[in-house]
């Protein structure tokens, strides 16, 4: 009996030193419980099941069969997985720098006090809350050869005959374009808040020291903004690694997944193995998902390790 009471008080002590703080903490727990339970069942459980499924051979209709690590062994020698990874990395390369530079530019411009700034900020944010599917359909029309807006604009140049939606050389550009277009607003908001947190006194001091506009940007804004830049970069890379809807919708009109798999991203490949192929394999698809997760995790850890060399935190927060 005393043992149980001891355990309970131990657990309660985790929530604070005094009975009052514990009671407050308990209320807090009660209030977040509905969300947490929902998250656990609809997110946590499926995630855990993915681990289990990845060890099975399962086509979704016959009973699953435990096969140990066989899916992962196949994965290690799967050329298609490697191709999908290459395509995904290319997309990360196309989208992340572009969206960061553009978002920073927009944030800098919209940080200048000008009339209608609020309206403009909203305008840039609208793509973020637009459905990716709807946006992708619109962009598909823009890139449509012959009749699309883009082919009209470049009609007199050598780009006029480019088959953006079918040619494996070009198919990633429309996909990257939607992604960048949709992400700029979100990154912009982060950059704006970062910019506004930079104390004006630093700029004043720099001006007194004779720094010109470029120098103030280079030596004050950029370093002070680096924690935000880091955050934006981590989020952007993860986002681009998971690209699916854009690729799905944009390629749907001609060849789903792109001609010769030219737009088969990692997520698309997972989807194909789970729901499209003649020999469906939910187990293998789960293994693909886990491999994708591991790669993203590794990249993020590397970024965390490298950040100390370029991210500047005031008052030595970098150690924390």
């Amino acid at each position: 009996m005393t043992l149980i009471r001891g355990i309970i008080s131990r657990v309660l002590n985790l929530f604070g030193p005094t009975p009052l703080s514990r009671r407050k903490a308990l209320w807090g727990l009660v209030l977040i419980a509905p969300n947490t339970i929902g998250l656990f069942f609809f997110f946590g459980v499926p995630v855990l099941m993915t681990f289990w499924t990845s060890l099975q051979q399962w086509n979704g209709i016959q009973p699953a069969q435990y096969i140990g690590l066989e899916n992962f062994q196949t994965l290690a020698q799967d050329d298609k997985f490697r191709d999908a990874l290459t395509i995904t990395l290319k997309l990360v390369g196309y989208t992340v720098p572009a969206e960061m530079v553009l978002a920073l530019g927009v944030a800098l411009l919209l940080n200048i006090p000008l009339r209608g700034r609020g309206l403009l900020r909203m305008a840039y944010f609208i793509p973020v809350v637009t459905s990716t599917v709807a946006a992708s359909v619109v962009w598909t029309n823009v890139f449509q050869p012959e009749s699309g807006l883009l082919s009209k604009i470049v009609a007199s140049t050598s780009w006029a005959d480019r088959k953006w939606l079918t040619d494996p050389k070009f198919i990633l550009f429309p996909i990257a374009a939607v992604t960048v277009w949709q992400r700029i607003g979100f990154d912009m908001v982060l950059f704006l808040s970062g910019l506004q947190a930079i104390p004006n006194v630093l700029y004043d001091a720099a001006t007194i020291d004779g720094a010109n506009r470029w120098q103030r940007f280079r030596y004050v804004t950029l370093p002070m903004l680096s924690p935000t830049t880091f955050l934006v970069m981590v989020l952007a890379i993860i986002n681009s690694f998971l690209i699916f809807d854009q690729a799905f919708i944009i390629t749907a009109r001609f060849v789903p997944g792109g001609v010769l798999d030219s737009a088969t991203t990692l997520t698309y490949y997972m989807y194909e193995r789970a729901f499209v192929d003649a020999d469906l394999s939910l187990g293998y698809a789960s293994a693909v998902a886990l491999a994708q997760f591991a790669i993203i995790l590794a990249i993020t850890l590397v970024q965390l390790a490298v950040q100390r060399y370029w991210v500047y935190y005031e008052a030595g927060e970098a150690e924390a």
Partner: protein
């Protein structure tokens, strides 16, 4: 006045034919192909379909079944649009919870049969005395399973392919309208003559069923995959002959590229034709209603041209089927319902509804379908004739769509030589074969 008289005559003819077809149970001299049976014991069945129009037709026929053959039975019909139908079906199959009776497509049959999800209907066909060879082989062969070729589905309908052509363009080019005995050479000449300005002569390659596989079938080769699903046939001589014939027309500028058509769906070709950008297209019988409603120029229907060597004009046929779940609690009742829906009496509802061509080959039923399009000079009979020498679907599952689109994009958009494109695609196809 004359027009009214003509309508009256047509009406009378339709009424006469209906009068012949309606009292089918009476068997007044008319030979019935499939006779419904009273059910042993009424019960409740669930049924899934993907097409709203079908659902209302099926509801009418089921009401007749309940009234005449199975009083007390109840069928709950659920309609799920095609896009979600197969996802939902697969999920339910995984849970061992399929509807008792549901619509099946030949492209998906293999998956469900291979996973033992379907009820074998062959014992019932034997019991009911239905000779399953009464249906054209293209309609039922893809629904046969197992060593004995047991038939697991009852075909509901058929879709065949013909050529729709713009008569005004033929007039302008000074060409005679094509007839059923024309061949590929005649077709190529017409395509060339009809290409004027930004109007193309033909667009006949898009999509599996409406496109290039028809031309391959005409050479006597089974398109894409052989019937046993063991090998890619795209690199066979017949396939290469057909694809090169089409690729030549494309390279000579008589057919538009896929980018110009705006997509890889057969509807893209149809819309191109309906907006008078191309003179001839391949089109399925499911497009008849749209064409009659939407097209304001004079147009005609003709069977696909014959291959000069084999002298065969062949259409890919697809037939939707009724199947029952292997786990149904009421197999006898499910089979009884399916028998009724496939019978002369049950198929009448489809024939009269138009749009859907009934699978039951009884000439009276077929005529009923043709007449359902009303007073028209169109050669709708061409679709019925195309069922004669038809080729059933040999492709498999959803993976076929991307592979098929890939082949046509490689040849008809990115200008790959046929041999190179075929090599690429065959390696993908052989990857997917069991």
């Amino acid at each position: 006045m004359l027009k009214n008289k003509r309508q009256l005559v047509v009406l009378l003819v339709v009424l006469m034919i209906s009068a012949l077809a309606a009292p089918v149970r009476a068997q007044d001299g008319e030979e019935l192909l499939i006779q419904p049976q009273p059910c042993d014991e009424p019960g409740t069945l669930t049924m899934w379909v993907w097409d709203e129009n079908w659902a209302s037709i099926i509801e009418d026929s089921i009401a007749a079944w309940e009234a005449d053959y199975c009083p007390g039975a109840e069928v709950n019909i659920e309609v799920t649009p095609w896009g979600q139908y197969w996802d939902l079906l697969r999920t339910n199959a995984a849970g061992g919870d399929l509807p008792d009776v549901f619509n099946m497509s030949q492209t998906f049959f293999y998956f469900y049969a291979d996973n033992d999800a379907l009820l074998n209907l062959q014992p019932y066909w034997d019991e009911f005395g239905v000779d399953t060879s009464l249906w054209g082989s293209g309609l039922v062969d893809p629904y046969r399973w197992g060593g004995n070729g047991d038939l697991y589905a009852a075909p509901v309908n058929w879709d065949t392919i013909t050529i729709f052509y713009n008569m005004e363009m033929f007039d302008d080019a000074g060409l005679d309208y094509p007839t059923a005995d024309w061949n590929w050479d005649d077709f190529a000449v017409a395509a060339e003559e009809l290409t004027v300005g930004d109007v193309y002569g033909a667009a006949v390659y898009l999509e599996y069923q409406a496109g290039y596989p028809n031309w391959i079938a005409a050479t006597g080769t089974t398109p894409i995959v052989d019937a046993a699903r063991t090998a890619c046939t795209l690199d066979d001589d017949g396939s290469l002959e057909a694809l090169n014939f089409l690729a030549d027309l494309y390279n000579d500028g008589y057919m538009p590229s896929i980018s110009e058509l705006g997509g890889t769906s057969a509807d893209d070709a149809f819309n191109f034709w309906a907006s008078e950008r191309v003179a001839m297209i391949t089109a399925g019988s499911w497009k008849l209603t749209d064409a009659i409603d939407q097209v304001d120029f004079d147009w005609g229907i003709v069977q696909l041209p014959q291959n000069p060597a084999t002298e065969r004009s062949r259409s890919i046929v697809h037939s939707v089927g009724y199947v029952a779940s292997a786990n149904t609690e009421n197999p006898d009742l499910a089979a009884n319902l399916i028998l009724y829906l496939a019978s002369d009496e049950g198929q009448r509802f489809f024939a009269e509804g138009g749009n859907v061509a009934p699978a039951n080959p009884s000439p009276a039923i077929q005529q009923l379908w043709i007449d359902s399009f009303g007073d028209t000079d169109l050669n709708i009979q061409a679709f019925v004739d195309a069922t004669q020498d038809s080729q059933g679907v040999t492709v498999f599952d959803e993976i076929w769509d991307p592979i098929n689109s890939e082949l046509v994009v490689l040849i008809f958009d990115l200008d790959f030589p046929v041999e190179t494109a075929v090599e690429e695609i065959c390696s993908v196809v052989e990857d997917e074969l069991p």
